[in-house]
Each structure stands twice: as structure tokens, then as C-alpha cells.
């Protein structure tokens, strides 16, 4: 396995801080995987034909390096492998190995669990690219199109990050899993993505903003718990990914800001709630999209009571959100926690050992984070002098996973019958009519500085560039 193969200049092609140039194992694995990745990107990545896009590329983990802007042809984007800075004194912060030095190699005992966690996380990254494949064709502005592609290439880089871990630390089995990450596809009948939410199409830009606000935020919390991992390479990988994830959520937050702003403007212009006819998205419809995306994302946290999560915690491979800032023993062996439950048709809670309640713990953190967006959007409404408010539905509303699955609960948290649900569902969740309306608004606006009528322009451009900057060049 030596001379015949042409040498690839790895450091130039693949920006990294993992010493790729001298890691034969990683080189060999990536040499084989990278062409498959490029094929996948060609088949499943953004479907709009562009010349180049004003993108941010991470070329280093330092403050200078992680945000390097330039116009880049998409298929020449340099997906890199970055881990946040190495802390030689880092100790495991929780579980039965608490206080021991973090692991630089996969402990054989936890190989299967770690591999599973990485595969599940890794599977979501390319999935969202696939879900958003056709969105570029209806971008409301070049600015938005550029943001979409930025999110896409970064999700691609997140895939690389997970593949790096599989290649570098999990041997042959890891390589096989890395191949599977490209073989599964969002929405495929034969080999769908692992998690349900990642098999739903992202059909329009409102869904895209909702997805990046709510579902990427789930990603933030998952990465946050993996950042605590005693397996140091995983921890450092996730820490760096979180920086990029913050940008994705920014796209979601400001995207919804702008939709709400535009709706408020139209409501005031026409002095009516009914802005659909004026080419806007009515508040009620925005509320339904919030209801849907929020609850689908809540499902991603899994069952309220989970022995897997408990085992991961005890093993030291997946912690809690901000584990190290928490003031408890970080063992949780003697503590109890309450988890949501439905008993005798009533919404209530049950007491379980704290270790079993970790999924609910993480979900609660997520829920309070989500409220931030609602405050923001309601401030916009307030500023425009509008009395109506947006809100998050009850945690039990529209749930398919966990304690509330199978129950019918209104956004206000009232338990109702299946018939009542059927009768009122269309008030709470996007209907075909709603979706058709939103889709009908999706016309591309490709002229620099121009924007579609259903959304307000952003308050700032990218990297201090103006709104009329040519963020995307076409062939």
C-alpha cells in the first residue's frame, strides 16, 4: 500500500488541525471516503447551479482562522477537520470515571455506545442538506441563498467531523459506518435517515427558518452534551461544531424575525390580520409552523425516562447540558427527578431516579431556550403596535415520542378526545391550504439587493457587506 497511488496534498485540500499529513490511517480512510462524499454532494447537495458563493471557510480553530470569507465554487469548498484546542489537564466531569483524565482513545468497553452516538449525530448532518436540496431555487434573496448554502456546507463539514471520529478511532467498523452515512438518504424508502424528523422534506423557506431555529437547536443541545464527553476527541469536535451551529440558529432566528416583521408591516398597511391576499404569511399560519417544528424537535429528545441516557452518563460518554457549571455531585446515583407522564387521562409527573430523567432534563433546557425566540418575535409585534402574540404550544401537544405519544393534547395543554383533536387539528397545525399558500409565495429573487415580498430584508449583510452585495454568482 505504498508508492503506486498518487499522493494527495492533504493539508492543502483538507484544512485540519489533526495532523492529517502524518496520519496514514486517516489518510487512507479519507482517500476512499472523500470521492464518495463528493459524489453524494453532487447528487444530494444543493440543486441550484451556481458559479461561486460568498462562503465562510474554517481554516483554523483560532479567532482568525475559523471565519475566512471568500467567493468559492461550491464543489471546491474545502471541508476541513477541526477540533477545538486541546486541554492536556481536562478531566472527566461526571459519572463513574469522574476525576479521571479524559480518554484520548476509545475505551473498548464503550466502543459500541460511542460509535452509536457518533453515528446518530453524524446521520443528522447530511440529512438536513438533503432535506434542503431544492430550496435554493426559491430563495427570497441572494443573501438568503448564500445563508442556505453556508448552512449546507457547514452541515457537510459536521458530517466530516463525525466521519473523522469514525475513521480515526473506530477501525474497520468505523469506516463501514462512515460509508453508511452517505448511503442512507433523507426520505428514502429503502434506507432512510435514522431519526424521523430528518426524513421530512423542507419544502419552503418558512420551514427552513423554523428548522434552523428549532431543529438545529436540538442539534445544539445534543452537541452540548457530547461536548462534555470523557472521550476527548468527541468533546473537542463538538465544541468546534457548536460555533457553526450558532450561525445556523442565527439564520433561523433572524429569518423568523424578518417574516414576522413583514407580516406586521402588511397587517398595519392593510389594517387587517388577513395578509395572505397581500402576499404575506398570516400570523396564525406562522403560529402553526411554530407548533409543528417545535413539537417535532421535542420528539428528538427521546423518551422522558431513558436507561440509555443513564448508561451514557454513568459511563462518562455523554453528559448534561453545561455539566461542569452544575452544582451537584455529577454522579446522580442518589438523586431523584420528576418526568412527565400521562396517568388516567391526566397530565402529571412521576418520580424516577435522576439518572433516568436525563432526557427530560435536556429537553427542559431546550424548551426554555426556545422561549427566547418567542419573546423576540412578540417584541417585534409589540413594536408594530400589534396585540396578537405568538407562543410555544404545551409540551404534550402533537407528540409522537415519549409520555405524551398517543394522547391528544391542545396547545394550551388540555387533554381531549381523538374526535375533538381531529375536529380542531387544522387550527393548530399547517393544513394543505396553509402549505399551498406558503409554497405559492416562494419565487426566487436573484437580483442583488432585492427581496421577496413576504419577508423583510435583513438589518445587516454578511461580513459587513451591504445587502446589495453579490453573495452568489451564477454561471
Amino acid at each position: 500500500m505504498t508508492s503506486a497511488r498518487p499522493k494527495i496534498d492533504f493539508d492543502a485540500k483538507i484544512p485540519n488541525n489533526v495532523d492529517l499529513a502524518s496520519d496514514r490511517k486517516l489518510q487512507r480512510a479519507l482517500e476512499r471516503w472523500q470521492p464518495n462524499f463528493l459524489d453524494w454532494w453532487g447528487d444530494m447537495g444543493p440543486a441550484v447551479d451556481t458559479k461561486d458563493v460568498y462562503l465562510r471557510t474554517a481554516v483554523d480553530v483560532g479567532r482568525e482562522g475559523w471565519a475566512h470569507f471568500d467567493h468559492v465554487p461550491m464543489n471546491e469548498y474545502r471541508w476541513g477537520v477541526f477540533l477545538s484546542e486541546h486541554d492536556p489537564d481536562r478531566k472527566i466531569a461526571f459519572g463513574e470515571h469522574k476525576g479521571e483524565p479524559v480518554w484520548q482513545e476509545v475505551p473498548g468497553e464503550y466502543r459500541a455506545d460511542l460509535q452509536r452516538l457518533i453515528v446518530i449525530q453524524g446521520d443528522t448532518e447530511p440529512a438536513s442538506v438533503e432535506q434542503q436540496r431544492f430550496l435554493g431555487a426559491t430563495a427570497p434573496s441572494l443573501y438568503d441563498m448564500r445563508n442556505l448554502f453556508q448552512v449546507n456546507v457547514e452541515e457537510g463539514r459536521h458530517l466530516w467531523a463525525m466521519v473523522y471520529l469514525l475513521h480515526a478511532y473506530f477501525g474497520r467498523a468505523g469506516r463501514e459506518e462512515a460509508d453508511q452515512l452517505l448511503a442512507r438518504n433523507s426520505g428514502s424508502d429503502d434506507s432512510p435517515r435514522i431519526l424521523g424528523a430528518f426524513n421530512e422534506e423542507t419544502p419552503d423557506w418558512l420551514s427552513f427558518y423554523m428548522f434552523t431555529y428549532f431543529t438545529d437547536r436540538d442539534g445544539k443541545y445534543q452537541l452540548g452534551t457530547l461536548k462534555e464527553s470523557g472521550f476527548d476527541p468527541l468533546s473537542r469536535t463538538c465544541e468546534f461544531m457548536l460555533k457553526e451551529e450558532a450561525h445556523h440558529m442565527f439564520v433561523g432566528t433572524t429569518g423568523i424575525d424578518r417574516v414576522v416583521t413583514r407580516t406586521a408591516q402588511l397587517m398595519n398597511e392593510h389594517d387587517s390580520d388577513e395578509v395572505a391576499g397581500a402576499g404575506g404569511i398570516p400570523l396564525e399560519m406562522i403560529q402553526k409552523y411554530i407548533n409543528f417544528h417545535y413539537t417535532v424537535s421535542l420528539d428528538l429528545f427521546g423518551n422522558e425516562s431513558s436507561t440509555n441516557a443513564a448508561n451514557y452518563f454513568t459511563a462518562g460518554i455523554k453528559g448534561r447540558w453545561q455539566e461542569e457549571r452544575r452544582k451537584d455531585d455529577h454522579l446522580l446515583t442518589d438523586d431523584a427527578g420528576a418526568v412527565d407522564a400521562v396517568r388516567d387521562g391526566q397530565i402529571t409527573t412521576t418520580e424516577v431516579p435522576a439518572l433516568l430523567a436525563l432526557n427530560q432534563d435536556l429537553r427542559s433546557e431546550y424548551m426554555s431556550d426556545c422561549r427566547g425566540g418567542l419573546k423576540r418575535w412578540n417584541r417585534i409585534l409589540e413594536k408594530h403596535g400589534i396585540d396578537a402574540r405568538l407562543s410555544l404550544p404545551h409540551v404534550g401537544f402533537n407528540r409522537q415520542v415519549g409520555a405524551f405519544a398517543g394522547s391528544h393534547i391542545t396547545p394550551e395543554g388540555k387533554m381531549i378526545s381523538a374526535e375533538d383533536w381531529k375536529a380542531q387539528e387544522s387550527k393548530w397545525l399547517p393544513t394543505e391550504v396553509d402549505k399551498t399558500h406558503v409554497r405559492g409565495l416562494m419565487h426566487p429573487v436573484l437580483e442583488p439587493g432585492k427581496i421577496a415580498g413576504w419577508i423583510a430584508p435583513p438589518s445587516n449583510g454578511i461580513n459587513d457587506k451591504p445587502m446589495d452585495f453579490e453573495y452568489v454568482h451564477f454561471n
Binding site: 473498548g108 466502543r111 459500541a112 478511532y169 473506530f170
Partner: protein
């Protein structure tokens, strides 16, 4: 196993918390419990246990009862009869005590022993009993049990390993298996199995016999086929001699052979640190890593130029002849690790040396094993040593790397393992030029070293897959990729993956339940047909080990612990 003494139960002594380091070295000048005399073609073997000669403190070996120390001597004795006494064609096993043959395993010893000690003790005694049968079958040394007094429990089980059993008819001596009625355990050293499978006692009679603590005296014992013959005291000596001579007559042993001596093994044990230790012999090395709970066993192959040119030279070399020297060392190592290193759960088996050297030795052995008694002995000794590996309750992993010599007989070591990993290609950062590892099949892999189930290791490996098996031929050589393709190794990672794969495998293995692994491995190793041997090691031993840990046997009120205290066992009556 009946020792009737009335001393109060000893406290849990050694064997429970800190099992002593057991040595298997001995020789006839050091025997405390046995002696043997060779008279013409017959060896007279006397069990004469020293009561104060227990291996660990806490019990007295009354009534010719035995413990591991007694059995270590018996094993040594069998080896010496094979190798040092080609003239011996029959062996008479009898007692040096007046009117008592053997009361079996010492109950005090069993009562005070930890579970692992009992299990290891039973495994070793079983192997020695099987070895005695192997002597009758393959060494031309037929064993006769001359029961000059009562043979109870393990005493009768020892007799069962012999080809013929004679019991003195004196209206008091009997054969008995009193384990179930008196101790609440099984006659676990092959007793239950051999009564039915070897002596063909009907199952209802076997049931009566195994629940009747006093057993049966001569005439009834003959009638029920528990013994072959019962002889009055007057006729005893003459009859035993006559039977011994008859047995000797059928032997293929040479009349003019010269035995070889079995000098003490050169063994160096060092403890480099709390976690690292090594045991080194001239031809076998073992490196113990207590942190990883692994032992790396490296068998050093022979030098090609050291192949003896003639049979005379082999005899002159004797215990220095590489196959014998290596087998003795490996045998000793297996026994020591098994008994003394309970927490070393994974053994990594390697070889190092010249493939051509190993093959040259194979040719010498193949040429003479059917005609020369010594070469024949060596072959069967290696066969028994491989069988020890087969029943060893440790994860066995073969690592086949450049510089190894897994050819023919040595390849059997790898095939005995639970998994085989072979490096494809070479280690790239190795200083010296290396040739990639190879494995070689020879005739040795096709019947020379059968397992306890009667199959070769290849037949066991490819059980039910005759096509794959038929494609394998003696003389073929395989690189890593070829060996993986042929199904001879589990995996053949290359240089880049090899270390990671092995490290992860070992760490993962170390995290699994040792008990579940033992059970799983034993199930996988012995596929296919049952034989008396697999029934003893599988069925009888598994049941016995289960009974051993049940409170009805080993609990404070259990039969084993209560025995001899004057108090009755208090059983949990639920049938499980």
C-alpha cells in the same frame, strides 16, 4: 468422597481469599502420596496419602482422600510412566493402605475452598483421568484398578478411568458414589458419566447406585457392571497379577525401549512491576499484563538446522527434543495460569520462529509417530495439551504476525483459539525487513490432534460446511487475506488497522462478564457430536459447578458445609 472424621468444620482458609500459588513441579523422589514399582511389564502404582500432606492448611487427608497436591503427583506419575518406562505395558492402580482404597476428594478441602479453586481442581483431576484413559488407548499402557478396599466417590471415579476394575470380595469393601446422598453434590470427576457411558450401567440402576451412600460390595457390583471382577482375599494377588499380565500382552510397546528422563523445567518467573510479570521457559514465553488482564503466550518455534537427522538422535535428545520440550513448557504454563492467574481473562497466543523449521519437525514426527513409542508419546502429549486449551475458561485469541510459525501442529494452537487475527502484509514501521505472516496446513491439521468431541479443530470450525472444509488441503500456505478468504482466520487487518482492532477487541472483551464469556466460549468451542469427554466437561461439570454455588451445597446450611458437623443440611426444597 467420604471422609468420616469429626473435627469441627475448618474456617474458610486458604483457597478462599488468597489461593496459594500452585506449583506443578514434582518427581518421584518428592512424592508424598504415591509410589510406584516397575516389575517387568507392569507398573504397580500405590496411592498412599500422607494425612498431613495437604496442599493448603485446614484439613487432613484422612482415609486416602485427595486434594490437588495428590493429583499433581498422580499427573506427574502418569507422565513418567509414559516417557521413562517404555517397558511398562500395564499399570495396576491400588492402595498402599490396609483395606481402604480411596475415599475420594477431601470434603473439608472442598468445603473450605473458593468456587474457582473447586472448579480448577475438578478440571485438572478430570484431565488426568482422561489422560489415564488415553494411556490405555494410545500408549500401550493399560490401566487396571485393583480395589483392595472401599473405593468411594472420587476413589471409585479414579477406578472408572481404568480399563478394568477388580474389587476385593471381603464382605466389607465396596464401590460407592455417595456424593448425592451425603454431600449434596455430584460425583463430578466423570463418575456419573462413566457409569452409564463407559460401563453401560442401566440408568435406573445408576440412579440407585448414585443415591446409595454405602454403595455395593463385590458380587452385586459385578452383577451391575460397576466392576469387572470380584476376587477373594486369598486369590487377590495372583488374580491381579494374572490380569496385569493379560493386559500387558496386548500392548504395542517395544520390549527393548529405553526411557528418557524428564528433568525439572527451566522456568524463570519475574515480576517487573505490580502490573507486569513474565514466565519464561526456553521455548515458551508468557507476558502478563494485570492492568489489561491479558497474558501473551509466545511459543518459540524450532530452529530448522536443529532437526534431528535420525530416530537415535531424537531419543538421545529426549526431553530436549524441541516438540517435547515445548509441549512440557506449554503444559506447565497453561496449568499455572489457569490455577494461579484467575483474573487474567484473555490469553493472546503467538508463535515466533521459522515456518520451515516447524515443517521440518513435522516431517520427522510424521515419519516416526506410528512406529516409534517416544514420538508417539510426544504426539499424544501435544494432543492432550491442546485439549487443555480447549477446556480453558479464558478467552483465547491467536495473533498471527510476521515472524510467526503457525504451521501444522503449531497452527492447531491458533485453531484452538476463539478468534484468530492475522496481519495482512507487514508492520510498516518495523526496523527490519519482514516477510508477511503465513499459515500452513499440514497433515497435522487433519486428524493428528482430535478434540474432545472427536473432531479435528478444522472440522469443528467448519462444522456443517463440508464444502469449505473440502477445499482445504495439507500443504497449502495462506497469507492474511487468503487465510481470511479460506475462513481460517477471523480477520486480516493490515498494518494501519491491526493495532486498533486488537486494542478495541481486548478492551471490549475485558468489559464483558467473565462468567458469560466462559459459558459462551465453551459452547462455541465444542460443536457437534457429544462424546464421553464432552459430556464430562460440558454436561457433568456445568451441572456440578452450578450445584457448587447453590446454597444447598455451599451455603452455611448446605450439605457440603454441614458435612461432619453432626448437623443435617437444611435444604431449600424448591426444584430449580
Amino acid at each position: 468422597m467420604t471422609v468420616l472424621e469429626d473435627a469441627p468444620a475448618a474456617p474458610q482458609a486458604a483457597g478462599a481469599d488468597a489461593p496459594p500459588q500452585v506449583d506443578f513441579d514434582t518427581d518421584p523422589t518428592r512424592y508424598r502420596h504415591w509410589r510406584y514399582e516397575v516389575e517387568g511389564e507392569t507398573a504397580w502404582v500405590y496411592l498412599d496419602v500422607a494425612e498431613d500432606g495437604g496442599l493448603v492448611p485446614g484439613y487432613e487427608l484422612k482415609l486416602n482422600s485427595y486434594d490437588l497436591g495428590v493429583d499433581i503427583e498422580l499427573y506427574d506419575l502418569t507422565q513418567r510412566l509414559r516417557f521413562s518406562h517404555p517397558e511398562v505395558r500395564s499399570v495396576v492402580l491400588t492402595s498402599g493402605k490396609e483395606s481402604n482404597f480411596c475415599a475420594g476428594a477431601n470434603i473439608r478441602m472442598l468445603a473450605q475452598s473458593s468456587h474457582s479453586w473447586k472448579v480448577n481442581f475438578c478440571k485438572f483431576t478430570n484431565e488426568t483421568r482422561n489422560g489415564i484413559e488415553d494411556m490405555t488407548a494410545n500408549s500401550g499402557q493399560t490401566w487396571l484398578a485393583a480395589l483392595n478396599g472401599t473405593a468411594a466417590g472420587g476413589g471409585y471415579e479414579m477406578a472408572l478411568a481404568c480399563e478394568t476394575i477388580l474389587l476385593v470380595n471381603d464382605r466389607s469393601s465396596a464401590v460407592a458414589l455417595p456424593e448425592v446422598p451425603l454431600l449434596g453434590v455430584l460425583p463430578g470427576t466423570g463418575g456419573l458419566t462413566r457409569v452409564t457411558d463407559k460401563r453401560h450401567v442401566r440408568k435406573d440402576r445408576a440412579d440407585i447406585f448414585a443415591t446409595k451412600s454405602e454403595g455395593f460390595q463385590g458380587p452385586k457390583a459385578v452383577d451391575w457392571k460397576l466392576v469387572d471382577e470380584t476376587v477373594s482375599r486369598k486369590q487377590w494377588d495372583a488374580t491381579v497379577r494374572e490380569r496385569a499380565a493379560e493386559a500387558a500382552a496386548g500392548s504395542h510397546r517395544p520390549v527393548d525401549g529405553h526411557g528418557i528422563s524428564l528433568p525439572p523445567l527451566a522456568r524463570e518467573v519475574t515480576a517487573e512491576s505490580d502490573s507486569l510479570a513474565s514466565i519464561r521457559y526456553p521455548n515458551v514465553r508468557c507476558d502478563i499484563d494485570r492492568g489489561a488482564r491479558t497474558a501473551t503466550i509466545t511459543v518459540l518455534g524450532p530452529e530448522p538446522h536443529a532437526v534431528p537427522e535420525s530416530l537415535e538422535r531424537i531419543h538421545a535428545l529426549g526431553a530436549d527434543f524441541w516438540p517435547l520440550a515445548m509441549t512440557r513448557e506449554l503444559d506447565d504454563l497453561i496449568l499455572r495460569l489457569r490455577t494461579n492467574e484467575l483474573e487474567i481473562g484473555t490469553w493472546l497466543i503467538k508463535t515466533q520462529g521459522s515456518i520451515e523449521g516447524a515443517l521440518a519437525f513435522e516431517r520427522v514426527i510424521a515419519e516416526h509417530s506410528s512406529s516409534d513409542w517416544l514420538v508417539n508419546e510426544i504426539r499424544h502429549y501435544f494432543k492432550r495439551t491442546l485439549k487443555r486449551l480447549d477446556v480453558t475458561s479464558r478467552t483465547l485469541i491467536a495473533l498471527i504476525e510476521p515472524g510467526s510459525c503457525f504451521a501444522g501442529a503449531l497452527l492447531e494452537l491458533a485453531l484452538a483459539c476463539d478468534r484468530q487475527y492475522m496481519l495482512e502484509g507487514t508492520f510498516e514501521d518495523h526496523d527490519e525487513e519482514q516477510d508477511p505472516a503465513q499459515i500452513v496446513l499440514t497433515a497435522s491439521n487433519f486428524g493428528t490432534f482430535p478434540m474432545g468431541n472427536g473432531l479435528t479443530r478444522l472440522q469443528s470450525r467448519f462444522y456443517g460446511d463440508d464444502e469449505t472444509l473440502a477445499a482445504l488441503e495439507a500443504g497449502s500456505r495462506f497469507t492474511g487475506a487468503q487465510a481470511e478468504e479460506a475462513g481460517l482466520v477471523t480477520d486480516a487487518p493490515d498494518d494501519i488497522d491491526y493495532e486498533d482492532e486488537i486494542r478495541i477487541l481486548l478492551e471490549e472483551r475485558a468489559s464483558l462478564s467473565p462468567d458469560a464469556l466462559t459459558g459462551m466460549e465453551a459452547n462455541h468451542r465444542f460443536v457437534g457430536p457429544e462424546t464421553m469427554e464432552t459430556r464430562i466437561f460440558g454436561r457433568l461439570t456445568a451441572w456440578q459447578n452450578w450445584i457448587f454455588i447453590r446454597p444447598n451445597a455451599s451455603g452455611p446450611e448446605g450439605a457440603l458445609r454441614r458435612y461432619g458437623t453432626g448437623r443435617k443440611a437444611d435444604f431449600d426444597q424448591k426444584r430449580v
